[in-house]
Assembly symmetry: C2
Homo-oligomer: 340 residues x 2
């Protein structure tokens, strides 16, 4: 019912050549005469021959497939990274298999193992939040090149492609200081999270370098940095004896929740309280006032990760464990602009 693919064998038969010769002709092997090459190629295009990449991969122990594991594909930032991965991979002749871990450590390992079973040439992964034990991930690294992106871990010895989280956060806080803010709150993550920790470091460094005292009361930690939590934490901050005059939420959604709450209490943004988020999500330009935030170049991260992975794949004997930082850019909008 379904049409069959034509194989080298069939080409060989109709041309009265051996399969080997046909294979070599198609691959432009120097041994083959121009005449034969022409003949073979003509027939191949005429019959619309396409090599069975599966068989080829099987033979060469190279599948040209890259496996990708991400916590959640629907996060806008993740989807832009994936776009970059797809583009760069396609350009280099690789296909991409994508899996979601849903922030579930068990599922993450399961996905990784299936990838291995499908003989992917390499794996790109953004580790899930709940990754405590990395021993099973280390086993995977033994088998195939792996590159981590976005969420890094110093427990996993492989190259990593990340945003300059610390510096970007530093710049954000410095911007707040430059517009006259001195009592800057941060809403960060509760549990250990690479991104959150790095951003928090940047926050601390900025305060320190500008001689602003750190006040634990305005350092807020929550489990999930969601819009809902942003609202709740804004309420909490407003209830303090001395309110902050700026709030840095380490995600846009929390920042948007903060803005919504401030507006409810008729607090002037940015005059009374300025707000900064992180990630330049689509909604950051829909909220009023528009949110100052840090743009994370997702496509660039994805493309870079692919480049390094392919390098590792093609030179398996000189694996290096670099950490590549991609710059995130502060985008100044109305939630911090013209503060006074």
């Amino acid at each position: 019912m379904k049409k069959e693919n034509i194989s080298l064998k069939q080409l060989a038969k109709t041309l009265n050549l051996s399969v080997s010769t046909v294979s070599r002709a198609l691959n432009d092997h120097p041994d083959i005469s121009e005449a034969t090459k022409q003949k073979v190629k003509t027939l191949a295009t005429k019959l619309n021959y396409t090599p069975n990449l599966f068989a080829k991969g099987f033979r060469q122990k190279k599948t040209n497939i890259i496996g990708v594991v991400v916590p959640n594909i629907t996060h806008y930032f993740t989807s832009t990274i994936l776009k970059g991965i797809l583009e760069e991979a396609t350009l280099k002749g690789y296909k991409v298999i994508i899996s979601e871990s849903n922030n579930d450590a068990e599922k993450q390992i399961e996905m990784l193992n299936t990838m291995l079973q499908f003989n992917v040439d390499g794996i790109l992964m953004s580790i899930s939040k709940v990754t405590r034990k990395v021993d099973r991930i280390l086993k995977v690294i033994d088998r195939v090149p792996v590159i981590l992106f976005d969420k890094a871990s110093n427990k996993i010895p492989c190259s990593q492609v990340v945003i300059n989280e610390e510096e970007a956060a530093y710049n954000a806080i410095e911007h707040l200081i430059n517009i006259g803010k001195t009592r800057i709150a941060i809403i960060k993550e509760n549990e250990y999270s690479y991104n959150s920790e790095r951003r928090f470091s940047g926050y601390l460094r900025a305060l320190k370098e500008h001689n602003i005292e750190v006040d634990e009361k305005i350092i807020i930690s929550v489990d999930d940095i969601s819009l809902r939590q942003g609202k709740r934490m804004a309420n909490l901050l407003l209830s303090l004896k001395t309110r902050p005059d700026a709030i840095f939420a380490i995600t846009d959604s929390a920042a948007i929740g903060v803005i919504q709450t401030l507006k409810k209490f008729n607090i002037k943004i940015p005059k009374d309280i300025a707000v900064i988020g992180f990630s330049n999500s689509l909604s950051s330009t829909i909220i009023e006032p528009m949110l100052t935030t840090i743009d994370q170049p997702g496509e660039k991260i994805g493309a870079t990760a692919v480049k390094y992975l392919i390098e590792d794949i093609e030179n398996p004997n000189e694996l290096t464990n670099k950490t590549i930082e991609i710059k995130g850019n502060l985008i100044i909008r109305d939630s911090t602009f013209k503060a006074y």
Copy 2:
């Protein structure tokens, strides 16, 4: 350097059995004795044996890989569909290869052909806007089961999973009529687009069934239904002698652009002009007033598409060309609520 996978051969050798027996034992073939099965399985788990799915697929002419082609992975709706696809596919033991067509007809075909070269068992695709000639797509359908989702086409004979666009739009317009609106504008797509046409049909039917005259002046067509275009078209509608009292934009982003413009002119929403979008994007709850819109259950669409595709894959002789409609739900929010 990298560890090798262990093969059936190695298991066979250490157990002094033939490869055939080991293979059968692992697959619970009835011919094999319980004792042997036990022995084999014990060693397999001990050595952490995982079958090479690639070799298996190669042999069985079945790869358990599904190919997916979408115009743009970063569209939120698309990413929710992909989530549904990934979940359902994983559940059924399939892997998913994803490609972007970027709304480029050439690239779309190219992707489809690479999928074929990788011997995918079936293809799920959302056709790009600019798909005029479908003849090359028809060739693909000859080779492997294909299911279309979101954007359908009656020129392509295969099953299709879509939103009940017409009915959903009808419901949206009827809702506007119910809150007292009688002069309802629509912002739709210029070029032929399945979604746009169906939504427009629903619009027309609702007006007709409620005896509201159609006025061409408030039927606006644009090339891309973006936020920017929403703003421009809102300006245009406001410049009319008799303004509409409601605007149905066939995408959320256009609707959000409309709202922003209406606010700029201090027009009361929904009292003066009500606004409805389509797709329940994340931003639709960030804009003020929150946007009434139609929720498209992306994950359900994805999961359904996978189910039908696997059915086609496993019963290649009884392919049916059904069109499955998934219901979109009208979500009433402030942009139309309490209109008077």
